[in-house]
């Protein structure tokens, strides 16, 4: 039986215009949340696809419970797709906490390049000017967290060793001071210390490129990004 707060719940103080609002103040956080109930549209996302081999790299939302964005790749090495929101709307700042969380399943854990998180707009987000994202590079099944402010490029330890077609939940928490905590399947794996965060606005982005010939399928269950105002 849930606890019922029949008068509502509030996190505002007296004098706040939302003091009588019976829900938690949603304006205290800037939130991006996509559960992928519908296909990422090119009117909302910049989609960069490469299809040199047979087939076509594309993104879709197949009939799967819970909603997923599915990237299918054409069959050559480096075929694949990146998606990034059209606007760069997330700016990390000192004193403002931030979170990135995603759940993914990749086609080939080792022979692939992939990114999930925040980065400045770029068709090759692996080397975007500003990065605050999970990355895995071709030839390795390890996924790590990368924070780059165009001067200092910091990588975490391996946060998870990916397996083909197996879901993993990845999350990172910026404490607003100098530390980033990195989680895999909701377990703290590594804390990055003395981090200088990216100093410019970033877009939400994700993507997968083949590291070897052969069509692959990668699923993204959801992406959540939140930034304290």
């Amino acid at each position: 039986m849930p606890t019922h707060f029949t008068n509502g719940v509030s996190n505002t103080t007296q004098g706040n215009p939302l003091y009588q609002f019976g829900m938690l103040d949603p304006t205290q956080w800037h939130v991006f949340w996509d559960d992928f109930n519908h296909e990422p549209l090119s009117t909302e996302w910049t989609i960069t696809a490469t299809s040199v081999g047979s087939g076509t790299s594309a993104i879709s939302t197949p009939d799967v419970a819970g909603g997923i964005a599915r990237i299918t790749t054409a069959a050559n090495e480096d075929d694949g797709l990146f998606a990034q929101t059209i606007g760069e709307t997330f700016l990390l700042a000192s004193g403002k906490k931030a979170f990135v969380k995603t759940r993914i399943s990749v086609g080939d854990a080792t022979q692939s390049d992939m990114v999930f998180g925040l980065h400045s707009t770029d068709t090759t987000p692996q080397d975007a000017t500003m990065r605050f994202q999970f990355e895995s590079v071709d030839g390795s099944a390890a996924i790590y967290f990368n924070s780059d402010n165009n001067t200092t490029d910091s990588d975490s330890e391996t946060i998870a060793t990916l397996a083909d077609d197996t879901f993993v939940t990845l999350a990172a928490y910026w404490d607003g001071v100098a530390n980033i905590q990195c989680f895999a399947d909701n377990v703290l794996i590594d804390t990055m210390n003395s981090i200088t965060i990216p100093g410019a606005e970033m877009a939400v982005g994700f993507g997968y490129l083949n590291g070897a010939a052969g069509a692959e399928t990668t699923d993204i269950d959801y992406i959540f990004v939140a930034n304290e105002r």
Binding site: S42, T48, A49, T123
Partner: protein
Amino acid sequence: MQTQLTKSGAKWAIECSGGPDEGTVSKEFASQEAAEKWRRDVTLGNIEAPDLNTKPKRNRKPSGKFKGDNPKTPNKNEAWVGGKTPKKKAKTKKKAPAKKK
């Protein structure tokens, strides 16, 4: 906007597409590097993104006035950007009111 990089023979092409009311624009390049550079420059805003608006546009003279068709070039309509005459929309005929019996 969605961009799709493909290879056809020795040429590289990028097809740009947008929303449901927009068209598709294709550009060809001699090399993969040139194609990827163009795509990156468009995304970074270094060069203008292709116009995906498929609405026909009238051609204008340098003075700003509308340009007319040149009757000497039957296969080209200089009055329109791209040189093609836009298709006319089919008019829906109004039904005549039913006669009173």
